[in-house]
């Protein structure tokens, strides 16, 4: 049971560094060693006067998030400079699980879905696991964090939809080849939902265990408001990491999501 004395505070810490990744993504390093943060978990990042959004944790020390400028909260986060204050609560959610006997893994990151994949790969490598990675994007400009990810990977691959970098096509071209070719114990994916659906299906067909990170409209972050529901599963509490078998049993996965009012709309 949660105790009153160990509630999660709202942290306000200084920005250590801001890195411009591409035309729409910035990475923010925070002066905070968040020791209880695990790969796959998220923060609720607060911009006073604007709002609060869930963001994947890209590293625990320094605490790192990558922000795509897509709305009013994220565009305010893009204005942050080193030394400015940033506020957030967390870490929240069920992290990626690494089975005890797993020796090697494949991580698949689409767009800025690569962010939690790096954190996971780094932790896995520290634990002596072999990491294969595939990073994909629409164009070469959408590929981010590949250098960080490659430093912790045994082998790494890039794909783009238009072929401007790496192999032309989706991440699954390389991923399916790796699953067939290499000895891999566990697959992890984060990115657009249709990509994760494809990954879950391919893994299912190969009898390969798989975990994906699902995004829904989160409001409370602590499993009470119900906004992030996907077919009775709470994304903030039961997820955001679900197994491939779990998401394949969710009729809405890859197809529909709840908007801010709770209406079920097509993705």
């Amino acid at each position: 049971m949660r105790k009153f004395e160990n509630i999660k505070p709202v942290y306000s810490r200084k920005v250590r560094k801001v890195i411009e990744e591409n035309y729409r993504v910035k990475t923010i390093e925070i002066e905070h060693d968040m020791r209880d943060a695990l790969p796959g978990q998220f923060l609720m990042v607060w911009v006073p006067g604007e709002g609060e959004r869930p963001m994947s944790i890209g590293n625990s020390n320094p605490l790192t998030i990558s922000v795509a400028s897509v709305g009013k909260v994220s565009s305010k986060l893009h204005e942050l400079r080193a030394g400015d204050m940033v506020s957030y609560r967390g870490p929240f959610g069920r992290p990626f699980r690494i089975p005890k006997d797993a020796k090697s893994m494949l991580v698949i990151g689409g767009g800025y879905g690569v962010v939690p994949m790096y954190f996971l790969a780094r932790v896995a490598k520290q634990n002596g696991m072999g990491v294969y990675s595939v990073v994909g994007g629409k164009t070469g400009k959408d590929i981010i964090w590949e250098k960080q990810l490659f430093t912790v990977s045994k082998e790494a691959f890039i794909t783009t939809d238009d072929g401007s970098r790496g192999k032309k096509g989706t991440v699954m071209i390389e991923a399916e080849w790796l699953i067939g070719e290499k000895k891999i114990d566990q697959v992890y994916a984060c990115g657009p939902e249709k990509m994760m659906l494809a990954a879950a299906k391919v893994c299912h067909d190969h009898g390969m265990p798989c975990q994906v990170s699902v995004e829904r409209h989160m409001k409370c972050g602590v499993g009470i408001c119900g906004s992030c529901d996907i077919n009775g599963h709470l994304c903030c509490q039961d997820g955001p990491v679900f197994t491939g078998e779990e998401v394949l049993s969710m009729p809405d996965f890859g197809k529909r999501k709840r908007d801010a009012s709770g209406k079920n709309v097509d993705i």
């Binding site: 709002g51 609060e52 506020s87 119900g226 529901d229 009775g232 709470l234 908007d259 009012s261 709770g262």
Partner: protein, 312 residues
């Protein structure tokens, strides 16, 4: 094992635990899950005339003495909402929660529900007149005052045959008068309890209120004594059944609430403290307590405080 079975407008409940409105009940599947996790009956998210996105976040902040929330009634609107919940099949009855700005809106909401006919298969309507943090609704619109309660209650009763529960606020004075007005206007039950307040949590680093709306309702164990007192007061003088809601986190809390006179007990924030299995845990704890002290049924302790006080 002591029996927790009780009655709810002609339906039999496995226990008196009700999923409080606003918690989890955004989708049919999450309501079904709450039934599987031990709820005797469940309440939907509150539905309004038009879809509402709710307040900008943060919507919830943890404090050292309970949760502070300002959701702002996110819901897809009555039409879409009834599509979501219509054709309810579980043995645990369904309560449709509604929120409106005035008599006219509540009338229209009730009419929309009634037009669904038997298709909907809901067992009651709950009108929330007590939200402390949404302009135009609840206590911010003065809906907790007795005249307003009577006005809205009669408007809903004119338009639906379903049993009507009026949800009152512990934050405004005169709950007994308001409950009496609801009864006189035809309400079938009172839900005594909503979050307390509004309150405010300030982040001292940012010098700003944390909640996007600035203020919000306090819930969780700290508000239980207020809720228990309100239930005691109402059941002392108003003769319709009461749902006791506010700060119920464990079996003994629910026992206390029912001793104060509640016929059922609403549970919400316990989901935050104890997880989605909170309902089942509370039911089991109630059972253990009743067994331990030699009661065979929950009926034996209902309103026990009223009887005991009379003896002294």
């Amino acid at each position: 094992m002591a029996s927790l079975e009780c009655e709810f407008f002609g339906r039999k409940l496995k226990n008196p635990i009700i999923l409080a409105s606003g918690v989890l009940g955004m989708t049919r599947e999450s309501l079904e899950r709450s039934c599987n996790s031990g709820c005797g009956t469940v309440t939907t998210k509150s539905l309004s005339m038009e879809p509402r996105k709710g307040h900008e976040g943060p919507n919830i902040v943890e404090t050292e003495c309970g949760l502070l929330n300002a959701m702002g009634y996110p819901n897809p609107g009555i039409e879409e909402g009834l599509k979501e919940f219509s054709g309810w099949k579980r043995e645990e009855p369904l309560i449709i929660s509604i929120v409106g700005k005035d008599r006219k809106e509540f009338s229209a909401l009730a009419e929309t529900i009634e037009n669904q006919g038997d298709e909907l298969n809901a067992s009651a309507v709950e009108a929330v007149l007590s939200c402390p943090h949404t302009p135009g609704y609840g206590t911010m619109a003065g809906q907790g005052a007795a005249e307003s309660v009577a006005d809205i209650t009669s408007a809903i009763k004119e338009n639906t045959k379903l049993p009507l529960i009026i949800k009152l606020s512990p934050s405004v004075p005169g709950v007994v008068k308001a409950a009496g007005a609801a009864r006189d206007a035809g309400a079938d039950a009172i839900n005594m309890g909503n979050s307390l307040g509004p309150g405010m949590k300030i982040d001292i680093h940012r010098k700003m209120p944390v909640l996007g709306f600035g203020m919000g309702g306090l819930s969780g164990p700290p508000i239980k004594p207020v809720a228990v007192r309100c239930v005691y007061d109402i059941t002392s003088s108003v003769d319709i059944p009461v749902i006791g809601t506010g700060g119920i986190n464990a079996g003994v809390d629910a026992i206390e609430m029912m001793m104060a006179g509640a016929s059922w007990t609403g549970v919400g924030t316990a989901v935050y403290y104890r997880g989605p299995e909170a309902f089942d845990l509370i039911a089991r704890e109630m059972n253990v307590w009743l067994d331990m002290y030699g009661y065979s049924s929950i009926d034996e302790i209902k309103g026990a405080v009223h009887e005991e006080i009379r003896k002294h």
